[in-house]
């Protein structure tokens, strides 16, 4: 492996690509959690997005429909979660777990006939610039539109939460649902919207895996990325920009691990594959040690059930 400058450019480009599903899912979950809802169904929503995106691509042969459809399917499955937690006041943790188990099973059932079908090439933007500019070419150009969207998303999310009235409402609902409700805000409606938005982003994250990154349908292909995305939200202390940084670190570990395997590093493959998961634990420990910092940033009503007396 020669460490010349163009190789590093390609490496950074691939790290960016592998962090996309994490950015999308974590940004979506961040909004959900900011409204006070803890949805542990990220993995389930992602895998549903992955299979529905891939299935729609095979059936319609249209990538646009596939992408939009994956987001819609994420929304549809998150409605189950929203209805249970918001309208039937169920426990967020248990409901999220059920959503993940249900989603993994349903995706494998739906995907039975799509195993082994090759994916379609996803159009990339500025491919000529990628080749012609050394170093910066592979970093900045030659990616899918979803990647550009994913990298803009944390900044948009930050702007939304900090500078818009709607963002203020979301934060108010998450920090103090009772006062928000007394101000005439429909807490349940706001939370529903945030849950559905989270579902859409997780669906898109799944579709990125099955349509662009891998691109094919493999059972259980999200392989814990949904859970890592959940950990990223804690890691980022609920700040969108830090989600981006965290996702790049995890993308980096994934790619590093693949390269170490490829050059025959003298460590068993399984230990390298375990790195992202171990890293998640270590990062969580480091971040959570300062309990005051965590408390200060956690949406105060996170995971608590809210209902309005009638």
């Amino acid at each position: 492996m020669s460490l010349d400058i163009s190789f590093i450019g390609i490496l950074i480009g691939s790290i960016m690509a592998s962090s996309v599903p994490l950015i999308l899912a974590a940004s979506g979950e961040l909004i959900t959690e900011r409204s006070g809802v803890l949805n542990l169904g990220v993995e389930g929503m992602m895998i549903i997005g992955a299979i529905s995106g891939f299935a729609l691509m095979v059936i319609t042969d249209n990538l646009f429909i596939a992408i939009v459809g994956s987001m819609l399917s994420g929304v549809i499955i998150s409605i189950i979660f929203g209805f249970l937690t918001q309208s039937l006041l169920t426990n967020h943790v248990a409901t999220g777990l059920a959503l993940t188990i249900f989603g993994i099973g349903l995706s494998a059932m739906l995907g039975k006939n799509f195993v082994g079908i090759p994916g379609k090439e996803f159009p990339i933007l500025f491919s000529s610039l990628r080749e012609s500019i050394p170093f910066f070419g592979p970093i900045l150009f030659g990616h899918s539109i979803v990647l550009y969207f994913a990298f803009a998303l944390p900044f948009l999310t930050n702007y939304f939460l900090k500078k818009t009235k709607l963002g203020l409402i979301v934060r108010a609902v998450g920090d103090s649902p009772v006062s928000a409700s007394n101000q005439g805000i429909n807490v349940i409606l706001v939370r529903y919207c945030c849950i559905l938005y989270g579902g859409a982003m997780c669906g898109l994250a799944g579709a990125y895996l099955s349509l662009i990154y891998t691109p094919q349908w493999i059972e259980n292909m999200t392989a814990g990325r949904g859970w890592i995305a959940l950990a990223l939200v804690v890691f980022a202390t609920w700040s969108p920009i830090k989600v981006l940084i965290g996702a790049l670190i995890f993308g980096g570990i994934t790619i590093l691990q693949l390269h170490m395997q490829a050059i025959g590093f003298r460590i068993p493959v399984q230990f390298l594959s375990a790195l992202p998961y171990l890293m998640t634990i270590i990062v969580l420990v480091v971040i959570s040690r300062d309990s005051r910092k965590i408390k200060l940033n956690t949406p105060s009503s996170l995971g608590r059930i809210f209902y309005k007396e009638k």
Partner: protein, 348 residues
């Protein structure tokens, strides 16, 4: 209170209806498919033995989880604790692969329980001393333990005469659970599960520890006010839970499997979460729930054989059970509200 134990039945009925609808959408006669799913698997003695075989690990793990869930500790990594328990227990069994002796099986079982316990202590210690979220840590460790198992069966522990198959040697007969009946796979591990049920009932309802666990689950503030040592309790419930999962793992490898390989558990550790809830975190409720959920595994296998419906219907059914169970709790909530209203009226 009666309704509290009645709603799981509502959830099961709704799940069966929901399953019928799914089969109908997939283009099957729903009545016939449901018959294949819920009745065919247990219509003979062999099927019934298989039901108990699958219910055993589910029951064991769920009993352990009930300690965690009752005290508001979200251990969702039982699958990892099961795997690590199986690795440690399996390691001991492999040490004695060419020996016989009555002491081997107890050693293997003990090693499995300790393995699961140690693995569960990781999220517990990180939670108590570093304030780390136990949900995420216990879950990440599932992936780590499965990769470790994969490494061992492919690498250092693989069978030298195994033509590079990813599996270890067969355990010696002394490391295997005794079979209860000739020709059936049901083994002595079921007594471990029953012992766990009895013991957990005793601990939860007859000891000070059980009282602490229940109070902490209902109100952390009250527990603090009462001066309970929260940290010790968290460590203890995780250890109990890990030991049970480790026992389940060891029961699988010394029971029906007889060696270590990659697929020692069809996600029993995750499914047991549903069992724990369906059984209302009550030891005897969990026995019943483990039988119901074990049937979803068997049903999924039978419908795959007879109707070529992929076996993942099992997970879909399991997810649905939990959804419907949580949803039917709304009835309880309503009941509480109505009672409160009546009380208020009386006061006026």
């Amino acid at each position: 209170m009666a309704l509290y134990f009645f709603t799981p039945f509502i959830a099961i009925i709704l799940t069966i209806l929901g399953g019928g609808i799914i089969f109908y959408i997939l283009g099957f006669n729903p009545i016939e498919a449901l018959k294949f799913y819920f009745i065919t698997p247990i219509s003979n003695l062999y099927g019934f033995s298989e039901l108990l075989l699958k219910a055993t690990p589910l029951c064991l793990i769920a009993i352990g989880l009930s300690f965690c869930f009752k005290s508001n500790n979200w251990n969702i990594g039982a699958e990892g604790q099961l795997t690590f328990g199986a690795i440690v227990g399996g390691g001991v069994a492999l040490l004695f692969y060419n020996q016989e002796g009555f002491y081997i099986l107890p050693l293997v079982i003990l090693a499995g329980a300790i393995g699961g316990m140690i693995f569960a202590l990781i999220p517990a210690i990180l939670k108590t001393y570093f304030n780390t979220n136990e949900i995420l840590v216990s879950l990440m460790l599932v992936y780590v333990s499965k990769l470790l198992l994969d490494y061992l069966v492919v690498g250092p522990w693989s069978n030298p005469e195994g033509f590079n198959f990813p599996e270890t040697r067969q355990f010696s007969d002394s490391s295997r659970m005794p079979l209860l009946f000739e020709g059936l796979r049901i083994h002595a591990g079921i007594f471990l599960a029953l012992a766990a049920v009895m013991l957990s009932w005793f601990i939860l309802y007859k000891t000070y520890l059980g009282f602490q666990i229940k109070v902490s689950g209902l109100s952390l503030k009250t527990a603090k006010y009462a001066g309970f040592k929260g940290k010790t309790m968290i460590l203890v419930v995780f250890m109990i839970s890990g030991a049970c999962a480790g026992l389940a793992g060891v029961g699988e490898i010394t029971g029906p499997i007889g060696q270590l390989h990659r697929m020692i558990s069809p996600d029993y550790g995750f499914t047991a979460i549903i069992v724990a809830f369906l059984g209302r975190l009550n030891p005897f409720g969990i026995i019943f729930a483990s039988l119901v959920v074990a049937l979803t595994y068997l049903g999924a296998e039978t419908t795959q054989i007879f109707l070529q419906i992929p076996k993942y219907t099992g997970q879909v059914f399991q997810g649905m059970i939990l959804f419907f169970l949580l949803a039917s709790d709304y009835l309880l909530f309503f009941k509480v509200k109505i009672l409160n209203l009546k009380k208020n009226e009386l006061r006026h």
